[in-house]
């Protein structure tokens, strides 16, 4: 389905994406975080498993850049190791659960009838099932299949409410004339869902996905607590934050580096998500009432683009520039 997606819409959305400073900054931060997570560990000779008995709970120094933890572990190495895991878990879980929610919700809403009843029954079943119970049953079998199974499990308990919302949005979209028109033109149902239904639910899906990123990182700690997922001596941002919370007032370096990176990560994803939402919604610039701050930013940008004589700037922006 994705292969024959319209090129021209794709190109337009891409151009709008690249024109938005939020996406560029957010995307840049995510790339830098990945670089840090995967290249950073080579900059120091400490491994996240190494223990330096000469330095217990030491503040950051030239030797240990982020300081050391209770057993003398190097916090820098630990944080980067955790970042590696959390970046992948956060992004993949959000992507997977949003895709699943979108697909199930849109199919249930669009096809209606028995498809709807069966899918919604399944969604409700997932909602009422105690997830811990299932995890305790499933976890011994999955113990050796690595982080991918873990991502799937996290995503599997995270999509139901989104799917229900998408379903109700689809039901109202289905009656809109443009969907009807597509149907009368002989466009296939799955293609209608891909081209018309999902883009029109995109604002909600994107906001939901950006929230899911942060939630996935924190949910992972919960699973780790039950002996599943990331186990010591291996670490993730989630476990680091959970362990460091108590020491935050006394040994701040054990908490704030991990927490700070998580905040930065979620913030960057939010920036990208906002930009993507605006890029997909052509009326975004004109339809929303921006805050004073964004107005000022718009004015600055308009002034900048006016200088290079940009093409296709919405009239609102031009008015800002001259105002």
């Amino acid at each position: 389905m994705a292969g024959d997606a319209p090129r021209s819409r794709g190109r337009l959305v891409l151009a709008r994406l690249l024109a938005s400073p939020g996406v560029v900054i957010g995307g840049g931060i995510v790339v830098l975080l990945f670089l840090l997570a995967f290249v950073g560990p080579y900059l120091t000779h400490w491994k996240y498993t190494d223990i330096d008995y000469t330095a217990l709970r030491q503040p950051p120094s030239a030797q240990h850049w982020f300081g050391t933890a209770g057993l003398g572990q190097d916090v820098y190495a630990q944080t980067l190791r955790g970042l590696q895991k959390s970046l992948i878990i956060g992004l993949l879980v959000a992507l997977l659960s949003t895709c699943l929610a979108g697909l199930v919700g849109a199919c249930a809403g669009y096809f209606g009838g028995w498809t709807d009843r069966l899918l919604i029954f399944f969604v409700d079943l997932m909602l009422v099932f105690p997830s811990f119970l299932i995890i305790t049953i499933v976890s011994p079998r999955l113990k050796n299949s690595g982080w991918l199974a873990f991502v799937v499990l996290l995503a599997a308990f995270n999509w139901m409410i989104t799917a229900r919302v998408v379903r109700s949005m689809t039901i109202s979209l289905k009656e809109r004339e443009f969907v009807r028109a597509a149907r009368f033109m002989g466009v296939r149902p799955l293609r209608i869902i891909w081209r018309h239904i999902l883009p029109n639910c995109a604002s909600y899906l994107i906001v939901d996905a950006t929230i899911a990123v942060g939630a996935a990182v924190m949910n992972e700690t919960m699973l780790s607590y039950f002996g599943f997922g990331v186990q010591p001596p291996d670490v993730s941002l989630g476990t680091l934050i959970a362990d460091g919370t108590d020491s935050a007032p006394t040994y701040p370096w054990m908490f704030y580096f991990a927490a700070g990176l998580l905040v930065l990560f979620v913030l960057a994803v939010n920036l990208v998500g906002d930009g993507l939402r605006d890029a997909l919604d052509p009326t975004a610039a004109a339809g929303r009432r921006p805050s004073r701050r964004t107005l000022r930013a718009l004015r600055r940008r308009a002034a900048a683009t006016a200088a290079v004589g940009s093409r296709g700037t919405p009239p609102a922006l031009d008015a800002e520039g001259t105002a």
Binding site: D4, P6, S8, R9, L12, R176, E177, F178, R180, A181, A182, F184, M185, G186, V187, R188, R191, R195, H196, P199, N200, A202, L280, D281, P282, T283, A286, R289, P290, L295, A316, A319, E320, A323
Partner: protein, 683 residues
């Protein structure tokens, strides 16, 4: 109309600014309006959407939202209304000036009974007890012609039909015998026969109370029928004001002239309409000079320097530098505006030899009425369509006419579904839809395309229009290169620019969006185009352009149209044949000229006489057939003729003839060139 009559309401230099949202400039919706209303007269305010006519009416009552800043002066009997404290205004509203709103559904509180709401209006301004107020409410409902007023008092708004609600609204407005009735598009949401009833009620109400009426409308026909004097508004100003005959007979502003030329007429044959080029200006940062100059064929450099004032003598004023010239020469609209030449339609003599495009016989569709929340059970059926016959040959336009609820849309969706109908037969290009394989249906979809009514809703807001137009091509698996080559061609064909392909629907005006819809429908070169009220959401001046385009496309591409409309003038203008529906049945069909001049079915006759003509002189000379009541509910299938409950002919018949109407459903002679489903339609 006497000039000596006292001036009741005067509006002087009224300006309304809406504070700009999102840091934009302020929108000046009304830019210096002068109006005078004399006791007992009817003033029509006509203009297109965005011309400021409703804002003017609302500002008189002080009903504008808080973001509006009103300047200027509105005096009622010499008393200034602008800047009056809210308490004082409340005493005037309803008592001296009353309002009839456009949408009668939202004008009533849904949870209170009609009677209580009208009684409340009475008690708000008069010291009466509840029983007296209720008695008065019943009188008022009787005045506006609601049958059985005592029972109607205890009805809830949702139990009333649209026409009944609008009558009740008028009853509420005249409850305190106001001096002025403000009616803001009072019949826009209603069908023509109901519109005729409501206009009649408005006239009755005006006669009974002696109130002056301000009638705001976009419909020149309604204005011509009702008004004594007319003010034409454009871009927030009155551009011309005159007594109704003079305005329609000898307009002095080119905009008025263009409007008159742009309206399709019931009493005239086809031919191109006169479109006014361009779009109305946005009311932010208007350039200096006449706001109509960019669209005006008579505009010169002098028009662009300063805005001409509203001047003129003997009650006929126009804001145009060329007013004297127009007054002296009295040109026809087509003399002033460039009219696109239409290629002559090849009119063959014998239509029976033309290949058949669509043939529908005896089509029926029922919807179950379900009850119960947990277990749904069927408690009845809605007979939405019950005997529809259509016949379209190549190159023909069939106009499908009917009021809301007559089953037009159901008929369309049954045809477009390309599945076996519940009853009857649908043949598209000679193929029976009941016997088609899935593949054949998919191929046949390319021959049948649709243009919807609302150009905003029928285009996906998130797709650029290039992709929108490509959609049917992609559905038919056209190769990529062909699609890429076709899109610019299609855009040019419908009068847009190829560069527009990368823009989104919201960047276009209504008329342009409808052109995009047409381009999308034409993309797969269909043989039959279904047009579902394609121009009813557009302004007159824009509508004319789209209608001309449709005529031109039909002639050049040899298309057939199934044109659905409630607007008989548009049908008369565009269609070759017409098919009239009432309560899910085809009641009359035939060549358009014959049906419109010698209608055989009493319903068609009533429908035709209900359409107001944009010509006050002709309008006064007509006899109007008013149909009583509303169409019956389609949940019960009537025995005999479905129309007899409202039929003016049935009322004149003798007992024996009546019994035939009651027992035997009249059949439509589908073989005849012009047939009507009426037992007595031959005479």
């Amino acid at each position: 109309m006497t000039t000596t009559a006292t001036e009741l309401l005067t509006v002087r230099d009224l300006r309304v600014d809406f504070a700009g949202a999102r840091g934009r400039g302020t929108v000046t919706a009304v830019r210096g309006v002068d109006l005078t209303l004399r006791r007992g007269e009817t003033l029509g305010i006509v203009g297109e959407s965005g011309s400021g006519k409703s804002v003017t009416a609302l500002s008189v009552l002080g009903l504008l939202p808080g973001t509006a800043a009103v300047h200027g002066s509105v005096t009622l009997d010499g008393r200034e209304l602008i800047g009056l404290p809210p308490g004082e205004l409340t005493r005037i509203r309803g008592r001296r000036i009353a309002m009839v709103f456009q949408d009668p559904l939202s004008a009533f509180t849904p949870v209170y009974r009609i009677g209580d709401q009208i009684a409340e209006a009475v008690r708000a301004h008069q010291k009466t007890d509840k029983t007296a107020a209720r008695r008065r409410a019943a009188e008022l409902l009787d005045l506006v012609g609601i049958p059985d007023p005592q029972r109607a008092l205890d009805s809830f708004p949702h139990e009333f039909s649209g026409g009944m609600r609008q009558r009740a609204m008028i009853a509420m407005a005249v409850a305190n015998e106001p001096d002025i009735l403000l009616a803001d598009e009072p019949t826009t949401a209603l069908d023509v026969t109901i519109q005729a009833q409501v206009l009649d009620v408005l006239r009755t109400a005006q006669r009974e109370t002696g109130a002056a009426l301000v009638l705001v409308s976009h419909d020149l026909g309604v204005i011509a029928q009702m008004a004594d004097r007319v003010a034409v508004m454009y871009a927030g100003r009155v551009v011309e004001t005159a007594p109704v005959d003079e305005l329609f007979g000898a307009p002095r502003h080119p905009y008025t002239l263009g409007l008159i030329g742009a309206v399709p007429r019931l009493d005239r044959d086809g031919g191109p309409l006169v479109p006014i080029p361009g779009n109305p200006p946005a009311l932010v940062d208007l350039p200096p000079g006449c706001p109509f100059a960019p669209r005006c064929p008579l505009a010169g450099d002098d028009c662009r320097t300063a805005e001409p004032p509203l001047t003129g003598s003997d009650g006929h004023q126009a804001a145009c530098l060329r007013a004297d010239r127009l007054a002296a020469e009295r040109p026809a609209p087509a003399d002033v505006y460039p009219v696109p030449p239409l290629p002559p339609a090849a009119r063959p003599v014998d239509r029976s030899r033309l290949p058949q495009v669509l043939r529908v016989t005896g089509l029926a569709k029922t919807f179950p009425v379900l009850k119960g929340t947990v277990v749904k059970r069927k408690v009845g059926e809605v007979y939405a369509v019950d005997g529809v016959h259509l016949d379209i040959r190549r190159g023909e336009t069939l106009g499908l006419v009917g009021e809301s609820g007559s089953g037009k849309s159901t008929t369309l969706f049954e045809i477009l579904g390309l599945t076996a109908p519940e009853a009857g037969r649908i043949e598209l290009l000679g193929q029976d839809t009941a016997a088609l394989s899935r593949e054949a249906v998919h191929r046949l979809r390319a021959q049948l395309q649709i243009v919807f009514q609302d150009p905003m809703a029928s285009l996906d807001p998130r797709l650029p229009i290039g992709d929108i137009i490509a959609e049917p091509l992609q559905a038919q698996r056209a190769p990529r290169e062909r699609i890429a080559a076709l899109i610019p061609e299609l855009l040019t064909k419908v009068g847009l620019e190829p560069a527009h392909a990368a823009r989104y629907p919201h960047e276009f005006s209504g008329g342009q969006r409808q052109r995009v819809s047409i381009a999308r429908a034409l993309a797969v070169s269909p043989q039959l185009l279904v047009l579902d009220e394609p121009v009813s959401a557009l302004d007159v001046s824009i509508q004319a352009g789209v209608l001309n385009l449709l005529q031109e496309l039909k002639a050049t591409l040899d298309l057939s149209y199934l044109f659905v409309s409630h607007d008989l003038s548009v049908i008369r203008h565009l269609a070759d044949r017409v098919s009239v529906m009432y309560l899910g049945r085809t009641v009359e069909q035939g060549p358009v000229a014959e049906v419109f001049t010698t209608a055989r079915h009493p319903y068609t006759r009533a429908l035709l006489s209900a359409v107001p003509l944009p010509d006050p002189a002709a309008e006064r000379g007509r006899t109007r057939i008013l149909l009583p009541g509303d169409p019956p509910s389609p949940t019960s299938r009537p025995v005999g003729c479905a129309f007899r409950t409202r039929c003016p002919l049935y009322a004149t018949l003798g007992g024996e003839q009546r019994s035939r109407c009651e027992q035997q459903a009249p059949a439509l002679d589908t073989a005849a060139e012009h047939g009507a489903a009426c037992h007595w339609g031959g005479e």
